[in-house]
Symmetry: C2
Subunit: 135 residues, 2 copies
């Protein structure tokens, strides 16, 4: 058993099991976080904002393929959960800045560890797929 660095020291196994068992419960944000990590743009945007505050159109350029609709909707969700702070500067033309909150930065950290795991094991996954598909 690899008792690796973070996450292994004090996992509340029972609470995680309970959190996974149900959706939409009050104290069970585990499912919400997994859903968010899995949605199409949230992690990408959080990652982008990890480099510093960005404006709407900067994000639009920095995240190729995202539509204004999804950019707006995803940012609103991130803002609602307290991961992103939205600041409107009352200028003409209007200027809106998005930045990670401290909470958003901790999310980015754990997302990084997940993505880093994915990079480290990408070859293993590819190998397994080739072997599986060979049959």
């Amino acid at each position: 058993m690899t008792t690796s660095g973070a996450g292994a020291e004090s996992i509340d196994h029972a609470r995680i099991a309970a959190a996974l068992a149900v959706r939409g419960e009050p104290a069970c944000r585990v499912r919400d976080v997994l859903d968010r990590v899995g949605d199409k743009w949230s992690v990408t945007l959080v990652h982008e904002l990890g480099g510093g505050a960005r404006r709407f159109s900067e994000l639009r350029r920095g995240v190729p393929g995202i539509s204004p609709r999804m950019l707006s909707a995803t940012l609103r969700g991130l803002e609602r959960d307290g991961f992103v702070l939205r600041t409107v500067h009352p200028t003409v033309p209007p200027q809106v800045e998005y930045a990670l909150t401290p909470l958003g930065h901790t999310l980015l950290d754990t997302a990084w560890s997940l993505m880093n795991w994915a990079l480290e094991h990408a070859d293993d996954i590819d190998d397994a797929r080739r072997e599986y598909d060979a049959k």
Copy 2:
């Protein structure tokens, strides 16, 4: 130990950015992993298998709400990526066991750190939502 889940020590920022930018690329399993973590049953099943090998109907009972269709499909996906080993015992009636591979265990470790983060910050998220919704 090769990987510590903390994620702060040697993140390949550039490769992660590249991996997030595109979907379905050869070496970019980052997106695949995020999608898998976000899908409805994969993490739950991996978590369940973390407790030891299980048979199909054991999983069906152990994971309330899952349909045989999604159980089968999710297990096949996990098997294809090398996270789960499927063993058929040629008995009557047939008996099939699913177990985590070593790779699957490392996935479970990183998933744990993510879920643990979610548990730790569930209150923060709830607070942020209440504040946001108040407006």
